[in-house]
Symmetry: D2
Subunit: 183 residues, 4 copies
């Protein structure tokens, strides 16, 4: 079965925490990316998704997996300002980079959230080394299944390697495909 590649849209972030410089997906090409979206007052995020992502951050090296958080506030905007988020990140011991999704002028849904079509929080996106979306989930992610997806993703060679090693026209095997980078 041919898998259709969908390129992960670039993040639209107004402010970063835990990163000295703005982060782009483009700059992460070559590494698998786990994009974790949350709201600080979302119970499912706080009790399940954030602890899960923290365990993943502790388990893998940054060079093997890039973990990026995104604060996608779509309700209670006054209650979840960057001031409150900063205290939240401190109290919950969140040390991976977290971007504040850029608010929209047209409604409560912030821009990156609207572009990706997230159904709510928590949402989780896995992006392969070539920048394609490989998983897009809403709600709780099972630990074993998420670990499995990460194992599949990390076992793929990067597109440039595949182009050297194999037929550049296909780059697929029975388990999936890695598209060439658009770099």
């Amino acid at each position: 079965m041919a898998r259709q590649n969908v390129k992960a849209p670039e993040l639209m972030v107004e402010r970063w925490f835990n990163s000295a410089v703005p982060i782009t997906l483009e700059s992460l090409r070559g590494r698998p990316v786990l994009l974790h979206t949350f709201q600080m007052l979302c119970p499912g995020c706080v009790t399940h998704a954030i602890p899960q992502v923290k365990r993943i951050v502790a388990m893998f090296r940054k060079e093997d997996l890039a973990v990026v958080g995104l604060h996608t506030v779509f309700e209670h905007h006054d209650a979840m300002t960057p001031v409150s988020l900063e205290a939240f990140l401190h109290e919950y011991g969140i040390t991976f980079p977290v971007g504040v999704d850029r608010p929209s002028e047209n409604g409560p849904i912030p821009r990156t959230m609207a572009t990706y079509g997230f159904r709510g929080t928590p949402s989780l996106v896995l992006i392969d080394r070539a920048g394609n979306i490989r998983h897009h989930g809403f709600g709780q992610e099972d630990d074993i299944a998420l670990g499995f997806r990460l194992g599949m993703l990390m076992s793929e060679t990067a597109p440039a390697q595949r182009e050297q090693a194999e037929d550049p026209q296909h780059g697929c095997d029975a388990d999936g495909c890695a598209a060439p980078s658009n770099g």
Copy 2:
């Protein structure tokens, strides 16, 4: 063994959520009271203590046990304003009364917290029918032990009842009483 009675100091609250009128401990005399203090950005409160208190609220009738929350902000004051607290209470489905501990002019510790000498959040105080402190704990409360304390507390008759045990006017039965306040 003679138990020394320590009267629970009155609450100093600047604003109530989930209650149309201000709540005083004085007005709750005759009922055991569970006073639960928390901060909305305290992980131990959010993942353990608040779910535990919610289960207790669901388990007992209000006439048998009064549950009162107290938001004792002693750090990150700008991040945990009443605006943020209101959204928090909504998102976490907290329906029992929650008071905002009155800020102090002399430091970060709010007034009720200072008076009770709470070591941090979560703290839990159990108050008997006569208004005396019977338990004062900091951190996680074991479910069985807390249930046990509640069983002990609720099985006590109210002080007035003890003094006039045959008085039929006070509407008591073998399982408990709502005594007149001793104020």
Copy 3:
């Protein structure tokens, strides 16, 4: 409300583990009793009920609460012999007394189980100081609710104590009493 007293039937046990002498409910009069029935190959017993009972054993003194286990085998009799039970008790660190319910000649349900009308395993019976059944439950017991029942039960004075409530010799205070047995 008048509570109807149902006397707990005596145990019919063919062999005791963790007790040098046979245990009778009669001999425990004056103390509340937690009677925990299980089968060693019952998943709900092993994953929930037994760990819960072990925590209760660790929490209370034997003088305040007697915990008695009962192995009520009603299926797979060849698979759950006393030889297997003994290894089970060792491996699971069960140190409270456990009796083997006496098999019936008339069917798979052992005798104590039949007399009490247990619906299956785990079952839990709470018996007050006077030997009356106060709770009879099948399946998982909620920690808070079970703790509450224990608190209610332990706060009761023993029957003999009730009859002579002013006797100062028995060393009781408002939190409870350990009455002499009425044996």
Copy 4:
């Protein structure tokens, strides 16, 4: 880094449950294999490892992952006979094949356990499509880490495919190696 391939020794089983025919690792070549060893009276097996393996069985197709259980009794032999094991498998809803490790004439450690050098139960071995041991763990396996290992393992192409597609002398990339089958 060159990974040294260690071929998984063949199982020595005296009796199979949940399989009409004896199972050999040889017959599973081409598929990754999860070999799960346990004892029915091992608490860590019952509360953690077996539920984890059952979730894995439910998550993957048999064609993608072969799960094989092995009952490696090294203590309490009289308490964990095949009669007891059969009831255990029934009560715990274990439907994947389980072999009884063949007892040794020289001591309490059964034969497959001795050959593999298992330190105890639960132990878990992951075997790749070519029959090599890729993971050998004792005790609790983290869900995410185990899922990750499965993802890595399943993403590998079988040795025959590699031999066609690549240099048969190497078959390695930065993430690991798949050795040629010895078939």
